[in-house]
């Protein structure tokens, strides 16, 4: 299956990556090569095979409902690129 530059732009938007006009042809070409590689999956019959999400068929352990984290806000926000009054800041979002 081949992809078009438009497909790549759509996927890039979903992934919040910006690809410049000049890069687009090469990105598309290399992406297509990877896609050709993975398209081999279509040549194998998987009828009735249960998808495997995790290597061992283990089940989820549960944690007791107790408060164990005592947040040090200053330490955790030390690496924040923009903050004020204890809030992380982003450009104004309008709903």
């Amino acid at each position: 299956m081949s992809v078009t530059p438009e497909d790549i732009e759509k996927v890039a938007l979903l992934a919040r990556l910006s690809i410049s006009e000049s890069e687009l042809p090469e990105v598309t070409e290399r992406f297509s090569k990877v896609l050709d590689l993975v398209d081999e999956l279509n040549t194998i019959n998987t009828d009735g095979v249960v998808p495997m999400s995790n290597p061992h068929d283990m089940t989820q352990r549960l944690r007791a409902d107790t408060v164990t984290s005592h947040t040090a806000r200053e330490a955790l926000m030390a690496s924040a690129p923009a903050q004020a009054s204890g809030y992380f800041l982003v450009p104004k979002v309008i709903d």
Partner: protein
Amino acid sequence: MADSDVLNASVSDLQRMLSARAISSEELVKTCLGQIEAENDALNAVITLCGDQALSDAREADQVLSRGDGKPLTGIPLLHKDIFCTKGVRTTCGSHMLETFEPAYDATVVARLKAAGTVTLGKCNMDEFAMGSSNETSFFGAVKNPWDLDCVPGGSSGGSAAALAAGFAPLVTGTDTGGSIRQPASLCGITGLKPTYGRVSRLGIIAFASSLDQAGPMARSAEDCAHMLTAMSGIDAGDSTSADRAVPDFAAALNGKIEGLRIGIPREYFNDALNPKVRERIMAALSQLEKAGAQLIDIDLPHTHYAIATYYVIAPAEASANLARYDGVRFGHRCDDPIDLEDLYLRSRSEGFGEEVQRRILVGTYALSSGFYDAYFNKAQQVRRIIADDFHRAFETVDVIAGPSAPNVAFQCGTKQQDPVAMYMEDIYTLAVNLAGLPGLSTPAGLINGMPVGLQLIGKAFDEATILNTAHRLQQDTDWHTYRPNFGTFQS
């Protein structure tokens, strides 16, 4: 004692010296730091040093040793791949995105190795977000192979492998999502083990592909790896996928006895992709094992071929979600003067991530997107089970599976960067092991034109002991693991 002896010594030897007070941990750490200072410019294997902290930790270890309270790893210097979060020490994952990120926490592996008495010297370069097989995708520049500075060390734990081979430290940590411990171990002539998925906690390890990632030891011998694995392993309440399995003393279990061991040789691992000279070395290693009493049995892993396609759907898909948190809001790179939220996202991420990382995010996003989920992601998860079943079936008749770790010796820098698919082929023999969640190990199998070759040993789930013991026997019968690169201190 000459520095080169110390820089060549095994952990067991160093521990004997430390216990006998023939050398102090502080001296050992100084020697390692000196070696890094002298040789790192040529290799670019280490990107962050914590010299002062290391010396202070070493002095503390010396106190413990002088009280006679030393454990097998007390006072032993170590380098971490820069994918392990280290409290208060910059953790970059080889990315511009995290160039200045200082975690407020230690990864469980870091904490456990610290508790075992090791002394952290610094952090090793790596492929960006562990995505690469040549250590050329790092934001901090490519790592060079100490065996030949024009060649790659492999990846993604290439900095770790190169550092160890160059004598920077006797132990290094790595992570392996599709071969990232075994392939660089093979290309740098060291021993590296990817444990069973779930054996080692992933908490605090920057995620690439959650269902495949596993941390493991890289060292000069199987025995050293065994010591380190014992310290790293075990259930962690903070990682739901860590296994509730007893952790044996892997080093104590090494007896070198492999008489009657059934070693499966998968036909599919000796295909056209394999360099014939590598094949020769692997066959030589296998006959050594046979000589030691093991039984070689031809087996089939019929769906091996599909491992690459399967891996390059699942790993990018999981990565596309794992890397969504790097959005310029709470930590990590943020673009200058974003005009609005979308601008903030788009520019921060495009500036922060390199080309290979962006490509995998795109592939993963595509594979999960509406209309393609069934054809790609779900299909890949089904094929994953088929591949895992191949192994389960094989392990009904054999105890260990053996083959090459990589199809070639280290290749020239820059030769595969332009062709992602050619690069992906480097992991052809290692990917399936991650898909099945099994333990795999690479041990040196001699040289081809002065460049190392690695033999891969694959074990049953949670049976690291058997592959470590097999490698240990090989290392008793051969001296391949003692070969050192003709580099710096080791120059003849």
